[in-house]
């Protein structure tokens, strides 16, 4: 089983997200994460879907997505010619003793401190899955109170665009 990142261009209609989510559910395809937002053209949305599977499953997912009338384009974002990032917020326990230590590690990872309270900090980090995992591991001993990640979002490198691919 491998992790694949798909980038989709879809019509920005109400219900399109449920259509795609429903397709994954009823065909037993595994979604690791899904992000969606409008594009430079407001009639279109772009989705980034991270799926877990093998080559045969990936081929079926792409074909089944392409069958949906509102899906205009589906491509796979390969790690070599695309970039993808995730955003996480981590609320971590911070006392007078640990606070500076946390800030130091955050600086190394270029994480932002977006909230400071007496007993906690909220850290914001953008990066690929590996970076986020490394940072999370380092924060663990301090006590993670809450954690949220956006799921991956990505684009192909270079001047190619999905619309004309």
């Amino acid at each position: 089983m491998k992790r694949y990142v798909l980038s989709l261009l879809v019509e920005n209609n109400s219900g399109v997200l449920s259509r795609i989510a429903g397709l994954f559910a009823r065909r037993c395809f595994n979604i690791d994460s899904l992000t969606v937002g409008t594009t430079e053209d407001e009639t279109l949305s772009r989705m980034t879907i991270v799926v877990i599977g093998d080559e045969q499953i990936l081929e079926q997912i792409k074909k089944q997505l392409n069958k949906l009338v509102e899906v205009i384009k589906v491509i796979e974002l390969s790690p070599y010619d695309s970039i993808s990032r995730e955003l996480v917020f981590i609320k971590v326990k911070a006392s007078n003793e640990t606070r500076s230590n946390i800030i130091e590690i955050s600086n190394i990872f270029r994480a932002n401190i977006v909230d400071v309270a007496h007993e906690s900090l909220i850290l914001e980090l953008t990066g690929d899955a590996g970076k986020i995992e490394a940072f999370t591991n380092l924060m663990e001993p301090f006590g993670i109170l809450e954690f949220i990640r956006s799921g991956a979002t990505g684009l192909q490198r270079g001047e190619r665009v999905l619309k004309e691919n």
Binding site: E11, S18, Q60, K63, Q64, K67, V69, V71, I72, K73
Partner: protein, 541 residues
């Protein structure tokens, strides 16, 4: 123009001459516009049958079948019919009423999220929130339903949207950026296919429902005859190839002919055209050598490689691909293979056995008799269960005969409404419906429609007071005396039921009686029902 009127105008633009419907408060203004139009409305008796009528109509005419139902329960009742059409790729447009837009989401009276509910079973669906979108949406719906891999499309229209007024103009063009079905096969792939056919010694064509939905009956026969390749049908493919052809090699599947499975087991090149290799069909492929060449032609790329691996994919419309294959191929000779196929076939044909223990009718013999008696243009619509298997295996496709059934979803009570739809679409076609006593009791009310429309459909009711196929499966799995929950104990007098609907009814218990009754009903220009008491212990295979 009032939107409801525009809806009817759109249907007229799509050359709709018949709609099947069941009205309710949420489609009241569509009905008022329908009243003023020349489109014929056929009032069915239950929305569960609604889409089946449209399905029969569509399969007969190659046009889109159209149905209208109200919101809430009316809409949810259509779901099984929609799923049935979806599984068999039948082009149908379903228009449902919806509660007012400002009531959507409030659990209003007769509100149901039919767009959400039918997402898995429609090729596409719409909830129209702006009346001005209606002409575009309806045009798209018809186009999507009847192009590419065909299928049902649902349009949900809130009541207040139907009352709005719009500037009506029917769009001339269609622009759907995400919908561009591939029709022509890649020419390089076609050439590769030809060279693999040339290299093979024992090729077989496995032809499915795609032959019928792309109207490639002529082309497949021409291609098979030019290349001398035997043709095996899937259940949905029955009717796509003449069974009196020397090249016809049966039906394959869990309930197909064992000789067809044997032929499949001997082939070194399988050419699948318009068949989706479903589990029930490929149950007959157990002897297939997995290392052979496998050319898979389908209009839906997702079907290629979904269930079975391939060695050469061709995405395209069966008719177009077959035309290209005919053009690019030279005549071929597989005489020793053809002889072998013939001898395998012959070995199995000689052992037809119509003996029964009870003296009641053997259903196989009955269907064989029907097949012998029917016209060259007959359409046999089989229901689901034992009657379906007996019909598929014993009714012979010749000339312009047709066979219809719910192949993919296996929906009981499909046959009576579908057969009625066929007859309404084409009164010149002889139509026979074969159904069991289980199936008919799911749709008795539809007999009224048959009578009202004077649709000359002959219903052959195979009555064994059992859910026969389920019983067979139970007996196979658990033992002869282990069937359970499958006895329809009450002896129903279906002849009287038919008569209650003013339909001539007959009851027969042996072949002699059946032959007489069948001759008589074929003479009558009206719907008739023959209750045939069959031996419950005759098996499908």
């Amino acid at each position: 123009m009032k939107a409801s009127k525009a809806i009817i105008r759109c249907l007229e633009n799509e050359n709709t001459d018949v709609v099947f419907g069941y009205p309710g408060a949420a489609v009241i203004s569509i009905y008022e516009s329908l009243r003023e139009s020349d489109i014929k409305h056929i009032l069915v008796r239950n929305e569960q049958s609604l889409v089946h009528y449209a399905s029969g109509y569509a399969r007969e005419t190659n046009k889109v079948g159209v149905c209208i139902s109200t919101s809430g329960p009316g809409a949810t009742n259509t779901i099984t019919g929609i799923a049935t059409a979806y599984m068999d790729s039948i082009p149908v447009v379903i228009i449902t009423g919806q509660v007012d837009t400002d009531l959507i989401g409030t659990d209003a009276f007769q509100e149901a999220d039919i767009k959400g509910a039918t997402e898995p079973f429609t090729k596409h669906n719409y909830l129209v929130k702006d009346a001005q979108d209606l002409p575009r949406v309806i045009k798209e719906a018809f186009y999507i339903a009847n192009t590419g891999r065909k299928g049902p499309v649902l349009i949900d229209i809130p009541k207040n949207i139907q009352e709005d007024s719009i500037k009506f103009e029917y769009p001339k063009e269609i622009k759907i950026p995400g919908y561009n079905p591939t029709l022509s096969g890649h020419i390089g792939q076609i050439k590769r296919a030809i060279s693999r056919i040339k290299a093979s010694e024992r090729p077989v064509i496995y032809a499915g429902g795609g032959i019928l939905s792309s109207h490639a009956e002529k082309e497949i026969l021409e291609f098979a005859e030019k290349t001398n390749i035997p043709v095996i049908n899937s259940l949905m493919g029955v009717g796509g190839f003449p069974q009196d052809s020397e090249l016809y090699a049966g039906i394959v599947g869990s309930h197909g002919y064992s000789y067809s499975s044997e032929i499949i087991g001997r082939t070194d090149l399988l050419i699948t055209i318009g068949a989706r290799m479903s589990n029930r069909a490929t149950a007959g492929f157990s002897k297939l050598n997995p290392n052979i060449e496998f050319i898979h032609v389908d209009i839906d790329p997702a079907e290629i490689g979904k269930n079975v691996g391939y060695t050469l994919p061709i995405v395209g419309d069966a008719k177009k691909v077959l035309k290209d294959l005919i053009d690019k191929s030279s005549s071929m000779n597989y005489s020793s293979w053809n002889e072998e196929v013939k001898s395998i076939k012959k070995r199995h044909e000689s052992n037809a056995d119509y003996e029964t223990q009870s003296g009641l009718i053997n259903a196989k013999e009955l269907i064989r008799h029907i097949s012998d008696k029917l016209d060259d243009n007959a359409c046999l619509v089989a229901d689901v269960g034992q009657n379906q298997i007996w019909s598929a295996l014993n009714y012979k496709i010749i000339k312009s005969r047709k066979f219809m059934t719910s192949g993919g979803l296996g929906t009981m009570a499909y046959s009576i409404p579908a057969a009625t739809g066929v007859k309404i679409a084409n009164p010149d076609r002889q139509v026979v419906c074969v159904i069991g006593d289980g199936g008919i009791q799911m749709c008795l009310g539809e007999l009224a429609v048959l009578r009202e429309q004077n649709a000359n459909v002959k219903i052959v009711l195979l009555n064994n007071r059992k859910l026969g196929l389920v019983r067979e499966i139970q007996q196979d799995l658990y033992g002869k005396d282990k069937s359970y929950g499958v006895d329809l104990n009450l002896q129903v007098d279906f002849r009287k039921i038919a008569q209650a609907y003013s339909i001539p009814g007959y009851e027969v218990s042996d072949m002699k009686e059946f032959k007489e009754a069948f001759d008589e009903v074929l003479e009558r220009d009206e719907p008739c029902l023959i209750q045939c008491n069959i031996d419950p212990d005759v098996r499908t295979l």
